[in-house]
């Protein structure tokens, strides 16, 4: 704060004449001066605009902020009516009146008033201030004047849109999170908030599920989804987390990791529960595939061992039978009987052969190959397989110029032949087999083989690649498990989708080199 010259008088002296009269001791003058100096400095450094007004609302004292905001010099400010000072621009007449009204009410009720209002700075720019107007009382409780303090909050307010943007961004982030559902439940168990991914994951619209009991989302069959148990745990330990299944609106179950926390009110009392469910469908799928592969590998080893044990005695049976059959003194009946036994033994031999093929631990010999050529090479082989003689159309859609894959021709031929034979056999009344190849994201050659056949019931889909599992009366249940093994050896994947009476589609992905 600029110190006023002697001729101007001391800003502090004028409003406080009573004080001045009481301080007569000369020794005190220095102390007072020092105190005044400190007060000046304090006011200048507060960062807020300070005006001290007399009863007539004229400025008796101001700090540096008042000078910098108005662009006026100290002497130009002192003595001016504060409204004239702050509202020099005529356009601001309405604001001036509002300020006046606030001032008047403060005076009338002798109360401090807080309000917000804009003024124009020296450059004519609007600045928003948070104002406080307080009446000053002299010792006799007589109103001496007013202190007007203004805090410039223009920048703080201008930053609000940034906050708004952050808000919108957070909303976007939350709404694009699909694997998490966040919902809140009150103490009675009714859903009071249903946000962030909940609609997408659980299929319910917010307005449909709000105030419904949360048990609607919990599977009765899944014992770990027992709501009473979960909430009891949250009440006791503050938090509960477990893997369980939730039920969607359509009645489908989804595997989730559910975390339930207490929702506390401002006094720290439980007012509800916050549920966060993480969708782990993909992880479960992966775990299942790994488990499946491990099971298949174990079965493969077992099969190889068993096949070896069967092959030796079977070799003796077949060998001896073969020799016996050729004995000259045998009766016709005997010969026929022996032949029948021989044929049945041969049937066992062929079955063991298939098992050994499934258990095949051989390392495939890989070569760079074009997927379309591999499939084309299989087509002529289909007709050697005693297939039903009904009308079956083949539609081929091959994408050209795809990168090569690393392939063992014979093994992949076996896979595609197997799948095509399956397709044929699933259409006893004829139909269409569609074979297509395409480039999947520049990573895989994707082959789809679909039929319009009898399809496979949903409950069997899970086991379809398991050895010895067959939906056909005369199947060995090894074909698809061999396909699965071969594709796995090629670092690829094979999946089946099927609908009863609509048909099945096998999708195979084999990595490009």
């Amino acid at each position: 704060m600029r110190r006023p010259s002697a001729s101007e008088g001391d800003g502090f002296d004028s409003p406080l004449p009573l004080k001045k009269r009481t301080l007569k001791k000369v020794g005190m003058t220095t102390a007072i001066r020092e105190t005044k100096e400190i007060l000046h400095r304090l006011l200048d450094n507060t960062g807020v605009l300070v005006l001290y007004l007399d009863r007539n609302e004229n400025v008796l004292l101001c700090n540096k902020k008042a000078e910098s905001v108005t662009g006026l010099k100290h002497e130009e400010i002192i003595g001016k009516n504060w409204l004239e000072l702050l509202f020099r621009n005529k356009n601001n007449i309405i604001k001036k009146d509002i300020f006046k009204a606030v001032m008047d009410s403060s005076i009338r009720y002798k109360r401090s008033k807080d309000f917000e209002g804009t003024i124009l700075d020296k450059e004519g720019k609007e600045r928003l201030f948070s104002w406080n107007l307080s009446p000053m009382h002299a010792e006799e409780n007589q109103s001496e004047g007013y202190i007007l303090v203004g805090h410039d909050i223009t920048e703080i307010r201008e930053n609000r849109p940034v906050l708004k943007n952050i808000d919108a961004t957070l909303k976007d982030i939350f709404s694009s999170i699909k694997e998490y559902a966040l919902y809140v439940v009150n103490l009675s168990g009714n859903i009071t908030y249903f946000g962030m991914g909940s609609e997408a994951m659980l299929g319910w619209k917010k307005q449909e599920i709000i105030f419904k009991h949360v048990s609607i989302l919990h599977s009765l069959e899944d014992i770990s989804a027992n709501l009473h148990f979960i909430l009891e745990n949250v009440r006791l330990f503050g938090k509960y987390e477990a893997e369980m299944q939730l039920v969607t609106k359509l009645g489908e179950t989804i595997p989730v990791i559910l975390t339930v926390n207490q929702l506390l009110d401002s006094t720290g009392k439980i007012s509800g529960y916050i549920f966060i469910a993480k969708d782990i469908t993909e992880r479960k799928k992966f775990e299942y595939q790994v488990l499946q592969s491990e099971k298949l590998a174990a079965l493969g080893q077992l099969a190889a061992g068993i096949a070896h044990e069967i092959n030796n005695p079977l070799f003796v049976i077949s060998g001896r039978l073969g020799m016996l059959k050729e004995e000259k003194e045998l009766s016709l009946k005997m010969k026929e009987g022996l032949n029948l036994v021989y044929l049945q033994a041969d049937r066992i031999r062929k079955l063991v052969d298939r098992i050994l093929m499934f258990a095949h631990k051989s390392t495939p010999s890989f070569e760079p190959m074009d997927i379309n050529e591999i499939i084309e090479s299989v087509m002529p082989l289909i007709h050697y397989n005693n297939l039903p003689t009904v009308k079956i159309e083949i539609e081929k859609h091959f994408e050209k110029n795809m990168p090569c894959i690393r392939a063992d021709l014979h093994q992949l031929q076996e896979v595609f032949l197997n799948l095509l034979i399956n397709a044929y056999q699933s259409m006893p009344r004829g139909g269409v087999v569609k074979i297509s190849t395409s480039n999947f994201q520049n990573l895989y050659a994707q082959v789809k083989i679909s039929d319009t056949g009898i399809g496979i019931p949903a409950q069997h889909l899970k086991n379809i690649f398991m050895p010895f599992f067959s939906t056909k009366n005369d199947g060995t249940g090894l074909g698809l498990s061999i396909c699965h093994n071969i594709i796995k050896n090629h670092n690829g994947s094979i999946e089946l989708t099927s609908q009863v009476d609509q048909g099945s589609t096998f999708t195979i992905k084999l990595p490009f080199i």
Binding site: H308, N311, V316, S318, G322, M323, D346, K361, S362
Partner: protein, 131 residues
Amino acid sequence: MLYKILVVDDETEVRDLLVDLLNKEDYLSKSCASGEAALDLLKTESFDAVLLDIKLSGISGLEVLKNIRDTYKNLPVVMITGFGYDEDLIAKSKQCGCCGYIGKNMPVSQIITTFKQFIETAKERCKTQNE
């Protein structure tokens, strides 16, 4: 020419069947139940070829094959196994120097014909090498 064959298999029934099948095809065959016995027999008797089971009690068929290769460079050895067509086993057998591989899961009639072919090819190769 009458070939003399040594059959090695630890299962009596299999061994006897192989001997019978070979003898029926005008081979002169003799058998033993283990690799150790086979190596002993080879020291005292000469054979034209060996039909050797891979899975033996005692030293394995592949070990026996290696031993034979070290001592009798040109003696043809055909491996036979209940494991059937197993590329890993085939590769290992070839590495150890066998001249053929037969799975017991083959139709019996084919087993002896295939064995015959292996022996003939090996003998032919041996002959051309000596010339």
